[in-house]
Amino acid sequence: MAARKAAKKPNVSAEELKTYYRDMLLIRRFEEKAGQLYGMGLIGGFCHLYIGQEAVVVGLEAAAKEGDKRITSYRDHGHMLACGMDPKGVMAELTGREGGYSKGKGGSMHMFSKEKHFYGGHGIVAAQVPLGAGLAFSDMYKGNDNVTFTYFGDGAANQGQVYEAYNMAELWMLPCIFVIENNQYAMGTSTKRSTKSPSYWERGAAYGIPGEEVDGMDVLAVKAAGQKAVEHCRAGKGPYILEIKTYRYRGHSMSDPAKYRTREEVQKMRDERDPIEAVRSMLLTGKHASEEDLKAIDKEIKDIVNASAEFAKESPEPALDELWTDIYADMAPQTA
C-alpha cells in the first residue's frame, strides 16, 4: 500500500465514528454467528463470510445517499447489513426459512431488497459487474443523480465481462463505482499466482476510467475514497474504480482447507490491521467513548445477532406451495 498518501486529519464526528464501530461490529458478530449455525447444520450449502472486510462496506455506505444502488457477489452478508437490511431476514434466508428475504428460496448467495436498493447477491463470479453497470444505466436513462456501487473481488477482476462493462460504462458515462474488494485470494489462489500486473485499478486507464487504491482496513480512508468516487459519478463524469485492499480472516467458504496461506499471516493481519480494533482504539484514545460506552454497543450488537439467530431458527420452513410461486411475475403459480 505504498501508493497511499498519508492520511489527513480525519473529518469525522465522534458519533459517526461510533456508528462505524457499531456497523462493523454487527457484521463481524453476525458472521461469527452464521459460522456457528453452519457448524450446527442449520445453514447449508455455500456460506462465504465477510469477517475482516467490514470496513469496505461500512466506509462506502457512509458515502452513499438514499436512492443509490448496490450489487455484489456471493460474499454478500456484510453488504446487506451495511445498507440497513434486517439481520433477522438475512439470517432466516441463510437458514432457508419463510422469514428470509427471499422466503428461503435464494439462500446465502441470492438475496435482494428493493426497499434498500440492494440488487443481490449473485453466485456467478463477475456477473454482477455488467448488471451493476446496467443499474447505473437505468438511473442515467431516468435522469436522476443516483450512483450504483458495483462490488467484485480480485478473482472476478480477471473475468472478461468486467472489461466489457468498463468499456460501455465509460463510453456511455454511466454513474457506476466499480469496487474491487481485493482480499488477495480468489478462493485459494493468491493474486500473485493469478495476475501478472501489479494492480487492478490501473486497468481502468485502458478504458479512460480513473481510479485509485484504498486501504480497506481503514474505514475512514474507505469513506474518503468513496466520497471522491461518488462526487465524480454524480457530476456526470462517468464511472470510477476503487481497488480496496482488504483481507478475509476466514476461508473462502465454510469448506476451505486453508492450506494456501499461513496461520501466521492471518494472525498478523488480525493483530495489526483489524479495522474494528482500529476504530475502537481511536474512540478510546480520543476519549470519544468510554469502555462502558463500547461495552453497551457490544451488548446491543450481541442482542441483535442473537435475536436474528433465534428468528432464523424459529421461522418455519417455506410452505411447499412456494416451490411453484415466483417463477413468472403476474401469473398464477406454476404447477407440474
Binding site: 461469527e32 454467528k33 459460522g35 457448524g39 450446527m40 447444520g41 442449520l42 447449508g44 450449502g45 469477517i51 444502488k69 450489487i71 428470509g100 428475504y101 427471499s102 428460496k105 441470492h110 435482494f112 428493493k114 440488487y119 443481490g120 447477491g121 449473485h122 453466485g123 456467478i124 456477473a127 459487474v129 455488467p130 448488471l131 453497470a133 446496467g134 443499474l135 447505473a136 444505466f137 437505468s138 436513462y141 431516468k142 465481462q161 466489457e164 468499456n167 460501455m168 463510453l171 476461508g251 465454510m254 469448506s255 476451505d256 482447507p257 486453508a258 492450506k259 496461520r263 420452513e317 411447499l320 416451490l323 415466483d326 417463477i327 413468472y328 411475475a329 403476474d330 406454476q334 407440474a336
Partner: protein, 460 residues
C-alpha cells in the same frame, strides 16, 4: 452458563470427520475467532474456530479420534467461576438433521402431478382478429419494427439496444427508421460484446426499464447465455418475487443460407427448457407484430426467436391500432381429420407445403402453429390428436432433446389411447451445418421428409 462445543459440519456434505488435533487444552481461555482444533475430512484438513469466548472446561473427544459424527459434543466451554464437573453427564449427541420428521411427512403431496387429467383439454379457439377487419400486406421485417415502435411510443421505459441497431438501421434492417424517430437515447448501438451488453440490459431491467436486447443472431447470444438464464430468468424466483427482468431478447435464430455451422443453429429447444423464460417463435408477420407487442409488455424475460429467411416474406397483417397476440395460444392454419402436423417458426413453411401436397393425395392434415413454445398450447395439440389420432412434429433444430421430443412425450402421457401410430419428429439432421451447397441442403429439413412422415403415420 456452560455450553457444549459440537463437532462442526465444515462442508455441505460432511457427516463425520477426524478430530485431528486440539490446539487448546483444558483451562485455556478462548476468544471468538481463536482456532481451537483441526478437523480432518476425506477432502481436507480444516481449522475450527471458537464462536463464543470462555474457558475450555473439558475436552470430551480426544485428538486422533476418527469418525466423529457432526453435532457430537467435543468439548465444554465454561465461564469464569464455573466448574467443568457440573456438566459431566451431558446430553446425548444432537440429531444430525433438524427437520427429519417434517421432511418425511411433507414430501409426497403438493408437489406431485395430479392423477386426474381432463380427457378433453380446454382450448382457446377464438379468432385472432374480429371478422371483417381490414388487412394490409406487410413483410415480417416491417411488422417487427411496427410492433416495437408502437410499444416505444406508449411506454418511454422501452428502449432498443444491440449491435448496429441505430445508425446502420439494423444489420437485417429490422430497426429501420427507429433512430430517427426515437433518438440515440432509446435506440442504442453497442460494441460487439454480447456478454457485457446482455448483462447491462438485465441490470437496466432490474432498475425498472424495459429493454429490448437485439442479438445480431442468436448464435452470438451463446456468449451471453449466462445472463439470459442465471441473471434474467432466475432472479424473480431467487428474490422471492421481489424483482425480476421484464425484457425481450430478440434476433434471428436458426439456419440462414451458406453460413456454416457457427451461424446456423436453432436454439428453440434450449431456451424452451428454462423456467422463468418465455419463448416465442413466430412464423407469420401478424404474429411477429402481435407477439412482439405482448413480449414487450410481459413482466418476464422473453426470448423472441426470429428467422432471417422469413424477414422478407409478406403476409396479411390486421390493420388495427393495437394488435396483440397472447402467449400460449396456438394458431390452426389448416383444419383436417387425418393427421396433426405441429410446427413453429420457419418449420411452418415445410408443414404448410407438405399439407398442400398431401391434400392432392387425399390426406387432410391439420396444421398447428405453436407460435410460443413456453408457454406451449399443449391443449391445442392434444385436442387435435384426439381427433386425428396421428401426429408429426416439424422443426429445423437437432433431433436429440428437440421440441418434438417434448411434444411426443406430452401426447404419450396425456393421449396415449388416442394414438394410432407413433409420433414422428421431423428435424434437422444430427450434424453441424455444412457449408457446401449440396450438403447443406441435405442437412436441412425438407418438405418431402414431412410428407414421408405423414404417409408413415397414416400407413399410406
Amino acid at each position: 452458563m456452560a455450553t457444549e462445543i459440537l463437532m462442526p459440519a465444515l462442508s455441505p456434505t460432511m457427516e463425520e470427520g477426524t478430530l485431528a488435533k486440539w490446539l487448546v487444552k483444558e483451562g485455556d481461555t478462548v476468544a471468538s475467532g481463536d482456532i481451537m482444533a483441526e478437523i480432518e475430512t476425506d477432502k481436507a484438513t480444516m481449522e475450527f474456530e471458537a464462536v463464543d469466548e470462555g474457558i475450555i472446561g473439558k475436552i470430551l473427544i480426544a485428538e486422533g479420534t476418527e469418525g466423529v459424527a457432526v453435532n457430537t459434543p467435543i468439548a465444554v466451554l465454561i465461564e469464569d467461576g464455573e466448574s467443568a464437573d457440573d456438566i459431566e453427564a451431558s446430553s446425548a449427541p444432537a440429531p444430525a438433521t433438524l427437520n427429519d420428521a417434517e421432511g418425511k411427512a411433507a414430501a409426497p403431496d403438493t408437489a406431485s402431478t395430479p392423477d386426474t387429467r381432463p380427457t378433453q383439454p380446454q382450448v382457446d379457439t377464438s379468432p385472432d382478429w374480429p371478422e371483417g377487419t381490414a388487412m394490409k400486406q406487410q413483410t415480417v421485417r416491417e411488422a417487427l419494427r411496427d410492433g416495437m415502435a408502437e410499444e416505444m411510443r406508449t411506454d418511454d421505459t422501452v428502449f432498443l439496444m444491440g449491435e448496429e441497431v441505430a445508425e446502420y438501421q439494423g444489420a437485417y434492417k429490422i430497426s429501420q427508421g427507429m433512430l430517427d424517430e426515437f433518438g440515440p437515447k432509446r435506440v442504442i448501438d453497442t460494441p460487439i460484446t454480447e456478454h457485457g451488453f446482455a448483462g447491462i440490459g438485465v441490470g437496466a431491467a432490474f432498475g425498472g426499464l424495459r429493454p429490448i436486447v437485439e442479438f445480431m443472431t442468436f448464435n452470438f447470444a451463446m456468449q451471453a447465455i449466462d445472463h439470459i438464464i442465471n441473471s434474467a430468468a432466475k432472479t424473480l424466483y431467487m428474490s422471492g418475487g421481489q424483482m425480476g427482468a421484464p425484457m425481450v431478447f430478440r434476433g434471428p435464430n436458426g439456419a440462414a443460407a451458406r453460413v456454416g455451422a457457427q451461424h446456423s443453429q436453432d436454439y428453440a429447444a434450449w431456451y424452451m427448457q428454462i423456467p422463468g423464460l418465455k419463448v416465442a417463435m413466430p412464423y407469420a408477420a401478424s404474429d411477429y407484430k402481435g407477439l412482439m407487442k405482448t413480449a414487450i409488455r410481459d413482466p418476464n424475460p422473453v426470448i423472441f426467436l426470429e428467422n432471417e429467411i422469413l424477414y422478407g416474406r409478406t403476409f396479411d397483417v390486421p390493420d388495427l391500432d393495437d394488435y396483440t397476440v397472447p402467449f400460449g395460444k396456438a394458431r390452426i392454419w389448416r383444419e383436417g381429420d387425418d393427421v396433426t402436423i405441429v410446427s413453429f417458426g420457419i418449420g411452418m413453411q415445410y408443414a404448410l407445403e407438405a399439407a398442400d401436397k398431401l391434400a392432392e393425395d387425399g390426406i387432410n392434415a391439420e396444421v398447428i402453429d405453436l407460435r410460443t413454445l413456453r408457454p406451449m398450447d399443449t391443449g391445442a395439440i392434444l385436442k387435435s390428436v384426439m381427433k386425428t389420432n396421428r401426429c408429426v412434429t416439424v422443426e429445423e433444430g437437432w433431433p436429440q432433446g428437440s421440441v418434438g421430443n417434448y411434444i411426443s412425450s406430452v401426447i404419450m402421457q396425456e393421449a396415449f389411447d388416442y394414438l394410432d401410430a407413433p409420433v414422428i419428429n421431423c428435424t434437422g439432421k444430427d450434424v453441424p451445418m455444412p457449408y457446401a451447397a449440396n450438403l447443406e441442403k441435405h442437412a436441412l429439413l425438407t418438405t418431402q421428409e414431412v410428407i414421408d412422415a405423414v404417409k408413415q403415420v397414416t400407413y399410406r
